[in-house]
């Protein structure tokens, strides 16, 4: 039976899908017939119920970053009503238009802006409908508190729910529908509380981990002891002790399915699998050297301004050179990934915490041998992911197991699975050279990068389950846009940025927060400070003198003044082990402006770094929700301090060895600094991303502050006490040589 649901049924079902525990499950076909997801259609994004409540269908998802309030604020503002009237449906492929993955800090800048335009289109249409009903001109009408009425307050009024019928608007999204003036904003810009926090802190929020279906089984996939190992044999005799446990084996994909999670775990432990002796990895200690050795698949000049080669070849100048390295890192989500799949012979529904439900839909369809339109992905919150962690792989695991057993299956990864098998942030090696700074001028600059080459047009990160099962999928590397911000923003006359593209990555890569830009900024802003140090000039003042962009100058000045910056060359002549550093980024040279100033202390004997204060001045254009934005920025700062000070994925020739919180430590409460966030709202500028840009200048500001504190220049992350001590010894040796 494939009864078509009415639009109102669907609204109800859609609402329940987000909040319910035992959820109704319209089949993908039913949903597809009932609701357009066409991003050019107003009805794709927005529906108005007879009671005047509004449902917004959003292709982007809330991963903890606050879209769940910010996007309703943008829609509510244009519609002239309060956010409490809006229900947001996120990332359901049957209900939401494809707005691209929730990545690259594009949630507001692209997703929110598109929905704002839909709301503006709706407002225009509602006013038109009311004008016709009232037989008055449109330009005297507006929507106030959900009613269309005259601006003067006189005359008739009509609720928006009375203006749109069962069939929706039936209009194209109008890219020219007028937006409200920022000067009139009532909802945008307010620090409204996020609607999910009460449920999250009282145990009532349904994460994908908490989602259950009737008749659902629990699955556990047994991953090999070495990346790429083949499954040679399975001894099932130990499973006799477990009632009703089923083994699923498809080539090298091995899993068990049981009625209870505990049985699935114990059965997976008891199963004796024999794997090939495989050593496909090079070990983390060999990565840096291997990056220069190749093999390479090409090179690109990504920035070319003036003649850097000639400037750097001048025999009369001593070119300064340095090399910076960023290691492989994990997304290190607090909760190991989880998913629930219900695969039937003709359709599949997948509950997933994916950042990219629409993008992965064809991949799952291909893996399951189903038409794309018969596969539905429904987003449910996961543990924060900051790029593609294991969520999509867990979903593939659940899908394959469900298909094999013909029942809904939930897969919960372990801590070892998550840290061991999530796709990793790729390593980055950068060599920089520049002519010395003279009178505030740098004549030539060159950045050379060694990076794993993202495979052009690869639709998604290749999935572990499909790979193990020998199911065809497009193979290759996904890394994000990792070459950006490799050039200094300070008006250097001649700049070249060259990338050497590596054919492979040491571990399967994916995008990780602010892909590439964090390491690039670490190198570029660190090296710029090296030029300032050599010239014995203040890093802040020099940046301000060389910067041509007023918004950049403003963030730099404000961040530095927040920590009481006193201009002088580094290192700190008082040598009391306390120093300050600054770094700046204009994200992707086209988006958010961020400057970070930081105060640290360094213990010369132990090499231990303590971050005391961080000040961040942040200009992402129009601010939608300052409270949620502040929290995003604080989070980005703390997480990036953690990545800079502590984090490197370790692995031997077989597999990842940093698979728990002892071997992959992250920053804890003891080391959280004082943080000041200074938001520069620009109501007449477009809204842009918050988190990624804030993360980007952190490592360089930290390294610059360490240099100021003790004269040690650390160019390798993580900045461990050992590396600080080694850099101190190097600095001391240099001093002695004079």
């Amino acid at each position: 039976m494939t009864a078509v649901l009415s639009r109102r049924d669907l609204l109800r079902a859609g609402g329940a899908l987000v909040v319910g525990f035992a959820l109704p499950r319209p089949s993908p076909a039913q949903a597809a017939m009932a609701k357009t997801v066409d991003a050019t259609e107003l009805d794709g994004f927005l529906a108005i119920s007879p009671d005047g409540s509004v449902t917004v269908y959003c292709g982007k998802v809330d991963l903890g970053q606050g879209l769940r309030i910010a996007i309703p604020q943008m829609a509510a503002e244009e519609l002239g009503l309060g956010v409490e009237r809006i229900t947001l449906i996120e990332g359901d492929t049957a209900l939401t238009p494809d707005q691209g993955p929730t990545a690259g800090s594009t949630g507001i800048a692209k997703g929110g802006v598109q929905i704002r335009q839909a709301a503006a289109t709706a407002r225009q249409a509602l006013i038109r409908l009311a004008a016709a009903r009232f037989d008055v001109p449109e330009d005297g009408l507006d929507i106030v508190d959900g009613d269309v009425r005259s601006l003067s307050g006189e005359g008739p009024s009509l609720g928006i729910g009375d203006l749109v019928g069962e069939h929706g608007f039936g209009l194209k999204l109008d890219p020219k529908a007028p937006l409200r003036s920022p000067a009139s904003y009532k909802v945008v810009g307010k620090p409204l509380p996020r609607p999910d926090v009460p449920a999250k802190v009282t145990g009532r929020h349904t994460y994908v981990h908490d989602f259950r279906l009737p008749g659902m089984l629990h699955g556990k996939v047994i991953r090999p002891p070495a990346v790429g190992a083949s499954l040679l044999g399975v001894d099932e005799s130990a499973l006799k002790a477990f009632k009703g446990v089923r083994i699923v084996r498809i080539k090298d994909f091995l899993g068990v399915v049981a009625a209870s999670e505990w049985d699935a775990l114990r059965a997976a432990d008891a199963l004796k699998a024999t794997w090939s002796q495989t050593e496909n990895l090079i070990g983390h200690e060999a990565v840096r050297d291997a990056m220069k050795a190749g093999p390479f698949v090409g090179e690109d000049i990504v920035v070319s301004k003036g003649d850097a080669a000639t400037a750097l070849a001048d025999p009369d100048v001593a070119v300064l050179k340095a090399e910076y390295y960023w290691p492989v890192q994990s997304h290190a989500s607090m909760g190991p990934s989880c998913a629930v799949a219900d695969v039937k012979s003709d359709s599949a529904t997948l509950w997933t915490a994916s950042q990219a439900t629409h993008r992965f839909r064809p991949a799952y369809a291909a893996m399951l041998g189903l038409p794309v339109d018969m596969v539905r992905l429904i987003y449910l919150d996961g543990s924060g992911c900051y790029g593609m962690n294991g969520h999509d792989d867990a979903c593939a695991d659940a899908a394959l197991l469900s298909k094999a057993v013909g029942k809904p299956v939930r897969v919960q990864w372990s801590r070892e699975d998550e840290l061991g098998w999530d796709p990793k942030g790729p390593p980055q090696l950068l060599a920089l050279e520049a002519t010395p700074m003279e009178g505030g001028v740098v004549a030539g600059w060159r950045t050379e990068m060694w990076l794993p080459k993202a495979t052009a047009g690869l639709p998604n990160v290749p999935l572990l389950a499909a790979q193990a099962a020998g199911i065809d999928q497009p193979m290759g590397l996904v890394t994000g846009l990792i070459t950006q911000n490799g050039d200094p923003p300070y008006g250097v006359a001649a700049v070249q940025v060259k990338v050497n593209w590596l054919a492979d990555a040491p571990l399967r890569p994916s995008n990780i927060r602010a892909p590439g830009k964090i390491a690039n900024s670490f190198a570029v802003e660190g090296f710029f400070d090296e030029l300032c140090n050599q010239a014995k000039v203040d890093g802040l003042i020099t940046r301000l003198q060389m910067l041509k962009d007023l918004r950049g100058i403003i963030v730099l000045s404000r961040a530095a003044s927040l920590i009481g910056w006193k201009p002088r060359p580094s290192p700190n002549p008082e040598s009391d082990g306390v120093g300050r550093g600054v770094a700046y980024v204009h994200y992707k040279h086209s988006e958010t402006y961020v400057a970070v100033a930081m105060e640290v202390s360094v213990d010369r004997d132990s090499g231990k770094v303590a971050v005391r204060r961080v000040a961040c001045a942040h200009d992402c254009g129009l601010v939608i929700n300052p409270d949620a934005l502040r929290l995003q920025i604080e989070g980005a700062i703390i997480q990036t301090l953690s990545r800079t000070l502590l984090e490197e994925v370790t692995f031997d020739t077989k597999a990842v060895t940093s698979t728990d919180w002892a071997s992959y430590p992250i920053l804890g409460f003891a080391d959280i600094p004082d943080i000041t966030v200074d938001l520069i709202n620009q109501p007449n500028q477009p809204p842009m991303g918050g988190g990624e840009a804030a993360a980007t200048p952190i490592p360089a500001a930290l390294a610059n502050a360490i240099f100021d504190a003790c004269g040690a220049r650390v160019r390798t992350v993580p900045i461990t006490p050992e590396r600080v001590k080694a850099a101190l010894a190097e600095a001391d040796a240099k001093d002695k040589l004079g």
């Binding site: 991963l63 903890g64 970053q65 606050g66 509380p193 996020r194 999910d196 926090v197 009460p198 449920a199 999250k200 802190v201 009282t202 145990g203 009532r204 929020h205 349904t206 994460y207 981990h209 908490d210 209870s260 999670e261 505990w262 290190a332 989500s333 607090m334 909760g335 190991p336 919150d381 996961g382 543990s383 924060g384 900051y386 919960q412 372990s414 801590r415 409270d627 949620a628 929290l631 995003q632 604080e634 989070g635 980005a636 700062i637 703390i638 997480q639 953690s642 728990d660 919180w661 002892a662 992250i666 804890g668 409460f669 003891a670 959280i672 943080i675």
Partner: protein
């Protein structure tokens, strides 16, 4: 210590414990972690699975008013004990004062660690009603957060103790 056979015999009849003030009897493997009992047998999903090693705190519950890692406590060990989960503290309409403080400070991003943070705070305030900021940091030191919500969480702890914000 009871023999394994004795534990199993007891388990067949079910193990009794009090959860959020209600007497519950749970059958099945007495050696399985309390976390799985709460989440799967009793439908209380406030406690989260984070590491299964007692390293992160996401699975914390109160056992006889002490915060414990429910991934490290077996059902047998919880026999006869009084367990309070995040759901048992309060709900959305009537949150526990600590939960209310977390809401007021918006002290969650993804929120996966929030269970452990709230539980650790409740346990802290029970023994030290007016902790210093350092005491709060120390009490939460074993609870990990990846989103970087630490400062909001500390503000929530101080708010719940009725004092000035850090």
């Amino acid at each position: 210590m009871p023999t394994k056979a004795a534990v199993n015999k007891k388990a067949a009849a079910g193990i009794a414990l009090a959860v959020n003030g209600q007497k519950r009897t749970v059958a099945g493997d007495p050696n399985r972690p309390l976390l799985y009992v709460l989440r799967n047998d009793l439908g209380l999903t406030g406690a989260k699975f984070g590491c299964g090693k007692g390293q992160c705190g996401a699975c914390s519950v109160l056992m006889n008013n002490e915060a414990v890692r429910s991934c490290q406590v077996t059902l047998a060990q919880a026999a006869g004990k009084s367990i309070t989960t995040l759901e048992g503290l309060g709900d959305i309409k009537t949150p526990h004062p600590v939960q209310a403080a977390f809401i007021a400070e918006q002290a969650a991003q993804c929120g996966y660690c929030a269970n452990g943070m709230v539980m650790a705070t409740v346990a802290l305030l029970a023994r030290t009603p007016e902790p210093s900021l350092d005491e709060a940091k120390q009490a939460l030191a074993g609870n990990l957060c990846r989103c970087g919500t630490h400062r909001r969480i500390l503000r929530a702890v101080m708010r719940a103790s009725g004092r000035a914000q850090p």
